[in-house]
Symmetry: C2
Subunit: 259 residues, 2 copies
């Protein structure tokens, strides 16, 4: 489910969950991130603690775990974060005739952008990265400007897709540059995603909000699950052009029926 | 000396050398980086292997060491990378009445930008980061767009200074945006450094080259050692406004006398 971020992540070449996460506050450009963390159920919470409790922006691997320990966050046994589905995909990618790139559908990334009534924006992103990645591979999500960026002067964005392509074009910062120059969130997102596709051949998806509260969810991949809440309305979709709308009350009622 | 990058780096809170490095090729925006590596004498060489031998952009800590091993790079005992000077600074910062921020003069970072006769640009940066940093702290140097960026369409830059501030403004990418919009390397560097100072209070220094071969070395810190080679002339300086010029032949002669 949406809330147990670590669980269900894709696995690295060794069959382990290794996650990256970032959070950023658009008011002062402060940010916190962790990379290559295992045995952490909610890496985004750890990223937030890096932002709030240290003078640093990014802690990695062993040092991030020492910090989690110092903050009193219990380690979650790695196998608790592994689902049957992620193990199946991992095994499939190990087969000699497999094409792991086919399976890079980026099912694991969760991104969020938000704006409050005073115009403060923020973003957060959390992911297991690429299936069957090398141990210690860090993707866009831990990298400020690539996996996310938030600035009250323009807006906030969170990205997903092929991490290495996103990093090459520093996608999140690029989107905000376009907005600084007057583009709408939708135009900024499409322009940056088109650039990434033509310049380095990478696909991705982004959610964007500007500092007036206009938003967009855009992707060059085949699909991206997205949802927005604005003025008590829930908007959501998965495929290009798809957009459903319901009232929040209605959505919450049907959600609780699902449990 | 300039060439033994790892040796002499500042130490983390535990008294160890932990380094970040990045390299980027402006032709295809490909890049390689490592973060939080110990026992590696030349992290920039490992970053280059990440770029050339993997599909990834950034490997961290344990995974980076496994990769180094797989590439046949021998581990250097950590204590061989520690100098008397770096240990002195580390000890001083541990004293109860010390102000470690006073000693953050960023003595350890080495950056380079280059352009060839065909207009291809590249950058490389390598650092031990901040003295007495938390274990696993990753700074701007491992983060593409912050510690360096290279794009044949505009130029290349390598940054140094307060890493967390550099990351907040994604300094390297910011400088290239300014150049894309027509600024000279010097103006782009000064504009971006001024922005970093006023927006987040951080100081730094940068070297920049544009795709016509114009270059600048600019800093808001008190000093930054820099040197340029162009048309068989060596230019170099340390303090603001300082600029010496000698012929390469002359410089090489006096250099070899020094050994």
């Amino acid at each position: 489910s949406f809330w147990s971020l670590g669980c269900g992540s894709v696995l690295n070449e060794k069959g382990e969950v290794e996650m990256d996460a970032i959070i950023m506050d658009g008011k002062n450009l402060d940010s916190g991130a962790v990379s290559a963390v295992k045995c952490i159920a909610n890496p985004i919470k750890l990223a937030r603690l890096v932002m709030e409790k240290t003078k640093h922006m990014l802690l990695t691997d062993h040092g991030a775990h020492l910090f989690a320990q110092a903050m009193g966050i219990p380690a979650t046994p790695g196998e608790n974060l592994i689902t049957e589905r992620s193990r199946e995909r991992w095994k499939k990618n190990l087969e000699p005739d497999s094409n792991p790139e086919e399976f890079q559908k980026d099912l694991g990334t969760v991104g969020a952008v938000a704006i409050d009534s005073e115009g403060n924006v923020a973003c957060a992103t959390s992911t297991g990265g690429l299936s069957n990645k090398l141990i210690g591979r860090v993707g866009d999500t831990a990298c400020i400007g690539s996996g996310g960026y938030a600035d009250n002067r323009s807006g906030a964005t969170s990205t997903t897709g092929h991490g290495e392509s996103i990093m090459k074009v520093v996608l999140a910062r690029l989107i905000l540059y376009h907005m600084e120059q007057g583009m709408s969130p939708e135009m900024a997102a499409d322009t940056a995603l088109d650039y990434m596709k033509t310049r380095v051949g990478g696909l991705g998806g982004v959610i964007v909000v500007n500092n007036s509260g206009e938003w967009a969810a855009r992707f060059s991949t085949k699909q991206m699950s997205w949802a927005t809440v604005k003025d008590d309305q829930l908007h959501y979709g998965i495929y290009a052009g798809e957009r459903h709308t319901r009232s929040i009350d209605e959505a919450l009622t049907s959600e609780s029926e699902g449990f």
